[in-house]
């Protein structure tokens, strides 16, 4: 891990932390919206950035209007908003990811890094189940699973939250890049068959943005 990660004191994972994550995720999605749409036009239907932007803007506004008392409640709320505003496959999948993670966090006002990891892991498992998908299908799972695994390894070897989320961010980015040579087996890209090879998956890419926002919410240097 880099020097700043080890020297930064680990923040508490409370509602403030999750709100910071939501704000960072929303602005990352907004800034990268054009890129996500560009990736989606190669193997999909050129709207992933637009849909994600609409969803996170709606979710941010909703959380702003209806403050929640716990980290779990905020994630659940964001998940519900994504389901009601994104549409496509991304709405139910990202909505389920965050709703399930939020529920797994329970109603504690603060949670540990390990509890966050376990919650994310259960959200990701729910996405795999809903999408009947697994790693290697060229989907968001290809950046999400490496991210929680890297987080788990870092926490297991005694790293703190910042270092663990920084490792997760790196693994998610590498996971997204690793989708380039994959053959899409799920979603609209799968209709292209062999022609889906050679393009980075937009879903794996947006998922990596959400993981990066966790690292930044914890105070990691911007990548």
């Amino acid at each position: 891990m880099n020097a700043s990660a080890s020297s930064t004191p680990d923040p508490v994972i409370d509602t403030e932390f999750v709100r910071r994550w939501l704000s960072l995720a929303t602005s990352a999605i907004e800034h990268k919206s054009g890129w996500l749409t560009e990736l989606d036009s190669a193997i999909g239907d050129a709207d992933h950035g637009i849909n994600m932007h609409r969803g996170f803007t709606a979710a941010s506004a909703a959380v702003e209007k209806e403050p929640s008392d716990t980290p779990g409640e905020i994630l659940t709320h964001v998940g519900r908003q994504l389901i009601s505003s994104v549409g496509g496959a991304a709405g139910p999948l990202y909505g389920t990811l965050l709703r399930r993670a939020g529920k797994a966090l329970g109603d504690q006002p603060t949670v540990s890094a390990e509890e966050l990891r376990v919650a994310l892991r259960s959200g990701i498992d729910a996405v795999a189940q809903l999408g009947r998908s697994e790693r290697g299908d060229k989907t968001m799972l290809d950046s999400l699973y490496p991210a929680v695994e890297a987080m788990g390894l870092a926490l297991g070897s005694g790293s703190g939250l910042v270092a663990a989320l920084t490792a997760a961010r790196t693994a998610a980015d590498e996971g997204a890049a690793a989708t380039v040579p994959m053959l899409a087996r799920k979603g609209r890209a799968s209709y292209l068959g062999e022609r889906s090879i050679g393009h980075q998956d937009p879903g794996a890419t947006s998922a990596a943005l959400l993981i990066a926002a966790f690292a930044e919410a914890a105070g990691a240097d911007t990548a």
């Binding site: 749409t37 239907d45 050129a46 549409g87 496509g88 496959a89 999408g131 799920k186 609209r188």
Partner: protein, 330 residues
């Protein structure tokens, strides 16, 4: 690409306002994006609800009315609607006889309709779902999202809608819808890519001298690119792909469907070639529909759908239908 729009953000809402102005027989909830036949819920009748991304007009909103759909839920352009829309539509049209969701087989549509089914059932509405997957250009396998729903959707919505109008119960309407889907196959060809309002430029690059075979309806590229072919050659390729998969042992309904950017003159000329190609393969035709029904914005090109007919389906087809886009017998 020049477009007849105000701003991309309001394209769907603007279209719905215009639909409402043109068709007082529909109730159009622009804010919640639900289009309902004005006389819904029809007493004792099973209701049909469909929906999908916008950009395929007249599908699905143009098929709302007597003898077809009770409600349609348009999503953003090429993006499936959200569960709240279908749950709201189901509540608006359910007479107590239950609701059939007609869902095109796309990951997003299936997931959102699944969630809507849960919401509607929580409200005590009986819901059954039928998945339309008629596109032979996609390999149907456990390891892909499966075949796409395209032109076959029109046959499912029309024939199941006719059965529902006659008072058939939910299980029979659903069984008929599945039977129709099993008897439908489609194949599409693009001469140009389409441009979504948000992107403003073609979704893929198709040089002037080439065409895409096996396209879907969302501007996604097809399976294969070839040098430009004549109408007759395209008809042979499309009919061969459909017939080889369907193996029709009797007469068929034919849909020669424009993708949105091809003139009717060309579509009728293409239909002549499709009928020739079917004749040469010994496939008799009972009814033919030519026009833009399941479109992909401004994409140039066409798809061919065959639906294997029988006496019951032919009788249902000819019963009265009154929707913005399909209308006869009343």
């Amino acid at each position: 690409m020049k477009m007849l729009i105000n701003v991309p953000e309001t394209v769907v809402a603007d279209g719905l306002r215009g639909l409402a102005a043109a068709h007082p027989e529909l109730t159009v909830d622009v804010d919640n994006r639900v289009v309902v036949r004005r006389d819904a819920p029809v007493n004792g009748k099973v209701a049909l609800v469909s929906g999908g991304g916008s950009g395929h007009e007249p599908l699905h909103s143009g098929f709302v009315g007597r003898g077809m759909l009770d409600a349609a839920c348009p999503g953003e352009v090429f993006t499936s609607p959200v569960p709240d829309q279908m749950a709201r539509a189901a509540a608006a049209v359910d007479s107590g006889a239950g609701v059939l969701f007609v869902v095109k087989n796309y990951t997003g549509d299936v997931l959102n309709f699944d969630m809507a089914e849960e919401l509607a059932e929580d409200e005590g509405i009986q819901v059954t779902k039928v998945i339309v997957n008629d596109d032979v250009a996609v390999t149907d396998s456990l390891y892909t999202a499966g075949r796409r729903g395209t032109g076959g959707t029109l046959f499912v919505e029309r024939l199941a809608g006719a059965a529902a109008e006659e008072g058939a119960p939910l299980d029979r309407v659903a069984a008929l819808a599945r039977r129709v889907n099993d008897r439908c196959r489609s194949f599409g060809v693009a001469l140009s890519a389409c441009s979504t309002p948000a992107k403003g430029s073609p979704t893929f690059d198709l040089p002037p001298g080439e065409l895409e075979l096996g396209i879907g309806i969302h501007g996604e590229p097809g399976r294969e690119r070839r040098a430009m072919m004549t109408s007759g050659e395209i008809a042979d390729a499309a009919v061969e792909a459909v017939v080889a998969d369907l193996n029709p042992d009797g007469p068929v309904f034919v849909l020669v469907n424009g993708m949105g950017g091809t003139p009717l003159l060309e579509l009728y000329g293409f239909n002549a070639e499709v009928q020739r190609a079917l004749g040469e393969r010994g496939v008799p035709v009972v009814r033919t529909l030519v026009g833009n029904y399941v479109t992909s914005l401004d994409m140039a090109g066409a798809s061919v759908t065959l639906c294997l007919a029988d006496d019951e389906l032919l009788r249902l087809w000819d019963t009265p239908v009154r929707t913005p886009a399909l209308r006869w017998g009343c």
